[in-house]
């Protein structure tokens, strides 16, 4: 796991994920390889060639047994079928059901073209299996378990843990941007350490509902994750691997979420609405703005102070 991430063939990675010119965001997948092998998430379809090459390099000539998609979004699942095509004996593992509070909609897998057809002997459907929290895989040196996704953007999501190294894979949760000098470093090696502000900026975008969150309940949910997982490493999809003090990152998230929730206060919402739809503007007789394109009226991260905060 981890290691150096070479350039992705055919994709200008020096620009596509930059933030404020000097900040980048990871798009990570993880390969576990021993007696059996597994890739957790598949990267964007815009980098198919590079993704296939990276997986092959990680396998070092070995076979791929499992392709796991944490949830059916393009930047996580976009190369699933390409990987299955390149590795004809691999099985695609997808979340069995939603991570929400209900029973789930029965046709959801069909809508995402991920319907399993175990009775069939050919076709993608015959190679799809569903995984649910509590399911485990023994890969040899590595033992993975799928666990509930407490912080997921898409309802059909699953997190993963690896028991031997006690590594926690929280997918879209606990991501953060980094300076371009830190792209292939672990978080503890960064020139510029990760701050609460970084987590606030990332999560106000990825989990926009935090604007209307009850921060006390968020604290409880994060504490429950800490107690259940207590990881030695955290391997997020959109941040580099956290090897040192992983629980402190989860504590920082609690502070970030509390800040983000200020954007849902009625006075902040009123400000957003007034700026977007000034009184009288809801009918068709409105003027196009003369200001610069791309400006946004925002709550969330822009509504709170912007100073750098303490390191984890």
């Amino acid at each position: 796991m981890g290691g150096e991430a070479p350039d992705v063939e055919g994709v200008d990675t020096s620009h596509w994920d930059s933030f404020e010119g000097e900040r980048h965001q990871n798009q990570s997948a993880y390969v576990l390889e021993d007696e059996q092998s597994l890739v957790f998430d598949t990267l964007s379809p815009a980098s198919t060639d590079g993704a296939l090459e990276l997986v092959d390099r990680a396998l070092d000539g070995g076979d791929l047994d499992y392709v796991v998609i944490s949830h059916p979004e393009g930047n996580h699942a976009g190369n699933a079928f390409a990987l299955l095509e390149a590795h004809p004996d691999a099985t695609l593992l997808v979340p069995e059901r939603g991570a929400g509070h209900g029973s789930g909609f029965g046709a959801e897998h069909e809508l995402f073209h991920l319907a399993s057809a175990p009775e069939s002997t050919e076709g993608i459907g015959s190679r799809i299996e569903y995984v649910a929290p509590g399911d485990e895989l023994d890969l040899g040196r590595f033992r993975v378990e799928f666990v509930p996704a407490t912080y997921a953007d898409h309802a059909f999501s699953v997190w993963m843990v690896e028991r031997t190294t006690n590594t926690f894979f929280p997918v879209d949760w606990l991501g953060f941007h980094h300076q371009n000098s830190d792209c292939t470093r672990f978080a503890d090696e960064f020139d510029r350490p990760v701050t609460v502000r970084d987590l606030r900026q990332f999560h106000s975008n990825v989990l926009p509902w935090l604007q209307f969150a009850d921060p006390d309940v968020v604290d409880e949910r994060v504490d429950a994750v800490i107690e259940a997982r207590d990881p030695d490493r955290i391997a997020p999809a959109h941040g580099t691997v956290i090897r040192e003090r992983p629980v402190e990152f989860m504590e920082m998230f609690k502070r970030a979420a509390r800040d983000i929730s200020e954007g849902g206060a009625p006075e902040a919402v009123r400000e957003q609405i007034d700026a977007t739809f000034p009184p009288g503007s809801a009918d068709g007789d409105v003027d196009e703005p003369t200001g610069s394109d791309g400006d946004e009226v925002t709550g969330g991260d822009e509504s709170v102070s912007d100073e750098a905060e303490a390191d984890p």
Binding site: F105, G106, A213, A228, S281, E296
Partner: protein
């Protein structure tokens, strides 16, 4: 026929997927403007032929000039390539991740390929824009699952288009009914079931603040309809009661399904 005239120049293309006695809408909306047509969402490939047929009927075969995506994920965007083959080029307006002041589509080479919507242009959120002769404001949603989502307010018709938010299931036989066509209104259980299936974070929401935000926005917009991709269009007269049902439906109790075990 799944084509319903919602207002004088807004058509509802109603398509749905069945799960036993529960159906899920995957709708599109077609707006006629002075300079062309705006299609809200491209829909699922499972309904592609019907969508093309219905769009052709309204546009006399011309197709849309602009497609505005409520969501930038499957199944909302997946007909775009086929539509381009069918009707030639059109503008695609999509929500992009919000990263400070950076316009990802304008500033990042190849970004639209990365998100799988080649040739799209990004939404300028929270500002009115003229699209095919209609005045439209795309706003950052107050409630959504994935961040690459937008609510779309058409000022001319006063219709607010949403995706996951304000969605609900419906019963077989109610597939083309608006809220005013349903004698008993929208079934609150269909509302609650939908939110509990679709949104993982209900237990962590401050529902009083959520309700206040909904009410403030709807009070300002005074929409004739709230028209979700995943639900029955809700007419103005039904909105107050519907918001009550939405808030009640999101009120989950007991241990969270997403809590660690």
């Amino acid at each position: 026929m799944t084509l319903t005239r919602l207002t004088g120049d807004v058509h509802w293309l109603s398509h749905c997927e069945a799960d036993g006695e529960r159906h899920l809408h995957l709708s599109e909306y077609l707006l006629s403007g002075s300079e062309g047509y705006v299609l809200v969402d491209s829909g699922s490939t499972r309904f592609r032929e019907a969508i093309v047929e219905e769009v052709n009927e309204v546009t006399d075969g011309a197709g849309p000039d602009v497609v505005v995506l409520a969501h930038q994920v499957l199944p909302h965007k997946e007909n775009l390539p086929a539509f381009e083959e069918e009707w030639g080029e059109f503008d695609v307006v999509t929500a992009v991740p919000r990263l400070g002041g950076l316009d990802l589509i304008a500033d990042v080479p190849g970004f639209t390929d990365i998100i799988g919507v080649s040739g799209a242009r990004g939404t300028v959120l929270n500002r009115p824009r003229e699209l095919a002769g209609r005045t439209i404001t795309c706003m950052r949603p107050f409630l959504t699952d994935v961040t690459v989502s937008q609510w779309i307010f058409d000022h001319d018709a006063r219709v607010l288009f949403t995706a996951e938010a304000f969605g609900h299931y419906h019963a077989p036989g109610d597939c083309t009914a608006t809220s005013t066509d349903l004698p008993g209104g929208i079934d609150p259980d269909h509302v609650a079931d939908f939110y509990r299936d679709k949104l993982t974070f209900l237990d962590q929401l401050n529902l009083d603040r959520m309700r206040t935000a909904f009410e403030m926005l709807l009070d300002r917009l005074d929409p004739r309809y709230v028209a979700p991709i995943h639900g029955t269009p809700v007419a103005a007269a039904d909105l107050d009661g519907y918001v009550d049902d939405v808030i009640a439906g999101m009120d989950v109790s007991g241990p969270a399904a997403g809590a660690p075990r």
